[in-house]
């Protein structure tokens, strides 16, 4: 009986450790780090849409009404970083100096509402 109790206690300990290790591994994979931003955002009818705040480097904006679009990058303290304005349906602004903590936004430039879509990332390429 004593042997069985010891075995049961050891099994519980192994089970607990295994559970903790699995949880830690899952959390490490699930929680996005600074090196993996890829955040789409959109609105079905608006003149402006702000993206989520994260580590960003590039911001792409698309106007599905095809009337010109601006994609902008802002630092989290509100500092304007840069803007790309396109006469076409798509604009991409890339901050080649590296990522920073902030957000991107997308806006129409004719004042009209449109289906706007944006995507922030911190990839190295400007494309």
């Amino acid at each position: 009986m004593s042997f069985l109790k010891t075995l049961g206690r050891r099994f519980r300990t192994v089970l607990l450790v295994t559970g903790l290790v699995t949880s830690a591994a899952t959390a490490a994979v699930t929680v996005p780090g600074a090196s993996g931003t890829n955040l789409p955002y959109s609105c079905s009818s608006c003149t402006y849409k702000k993206g989520p705040t994260n580590y960003v480097r590039n911001n792409e904006g698309i106007n599905y009404s095809y009337n010109g679009v601006a994609a902008t990058l802002w630092k989290s303290n509100g500092e304007f970083v840069q803007e790309a304005y396109s006469s076409g349906y798509k604009a991409l602004v890339c901050h080649k100096s590296g990522e920073f903590y902030g957000w991107g936004d997308v806006a129409t430039r004719d004042g009209g509402s449109a289906h706007l879509a944006g995507r922030e990332d911190n990839y190295a390429g400007c494309e």
């Binding site: 955002y41 003149t47 402006y48 702000k50 993206g51 989520p52 705040t53 095809y66 601006a70 994609a71 902008t72 990058l73 802002w74 989290s76 303290n77 509100g78 500092e79 304007f80 970083v81 840069q82 803007e83 790309a84 304005y85 396109s86 006469s87 076409g88 349906y89 798509k90 604009a91 991409l92 602004v93 890339c94 901050h95 080649k96 100096s97 957000w103 936004d105 806006a107 430039r109 390429g125 400007c126 494309e127």
Partner: protein, 209 residues
């Protein structure tokens, strides 16, 4: 051969009809998709820079400041600290890319039929850090073959006319108000340039996303 019952014949005919309808719908959808997304239209015949008829440095060229352009982009003009590229990522769209030595860059794209008709305008506005590094509002225009000059109009009303080189005209002018040029199919294309980041009144409002 076994004689078919009337009900079986009706079912068979209905099946055939459905099949024909499905084929017709798929064909129509394919045609509409091709028209909408410019399939079959390479765009190259309207832009000499994509066909090699223009004198270009080739694709993959590193821009000023050591910034790599998108794969397949073709260097059109180096103006000051700006390297401007023409880029066709797919048959569906045509883009102009501006990479500045100050470490900022931008891309503007339009659908291929629109780009072929009147070109694509990109205005790249730097923030305070890039301004301190020597960058300024730079406007790059990718125009189709047949457009030889582009007029840049600033806020005082003065006009600077720039010759098109490799389908591109570019000007760095913080006070630029609009871009205008005659398009090959007739008429004039006019593109106002926004005066400030958009929308200035909405930014910044942290937490409103």
């Amino acid at each position: 051969m076994r004689q078919m019952k009337p009900m079986q014949r009706v079912t068979l005919r209905a099946g055939r009809l459905l099949l024909v309808l499905a084929v017709a719908v798929c064909a129509s959808a394919g045609t509409m998709f091709a028209v909408a997304f410019g399939a079959g239209s390479s765009g190259a015949q309207h832009f000499a820079i994509f066909t090699g008829r223009a004198s270009v440095a080739g694709s993959g060229t590193t821009a000023a400041g050591g910034i790599a352009p998108p794969a397949g982009a073709r260097l059109a003009v180096v103006a000051g600290s700006n390297s401007v590229f023409a880029w066709q990522p797919s048959n569906a769209e045509i883009c102009v890319v501006d990479l500045e030595a100050a470490g900022i860059g931008g891309v503007a794209c339009d659908r291929t039929p629109q780009a072929e008709a009147h070109g694509v305008v990109l205005a790249l506005r730097p923030g305070a850090t890039a301004l301190a590094g020597g960058a300024t509002l730079t406007t790059a225009v990718l125009v189709p073959d047949g457009v030889s000059t582009v007029s840049f109009v600033d806020r005082s009303g003065s006009i600077r006319t720039t010759a098109v080189e490799n389908n591109v005209a570019v000007l760095a002018d913080a006070q630029l108000a609009s871009v205008r040029y005659s398009i090959p199919t007739g008429g004039e294309f006019v593109q106002p340039i926004p005066t400030s980041p958009a929308p200035a009144s909405a930014a910044p409002t942290p937490g409103s996303e």
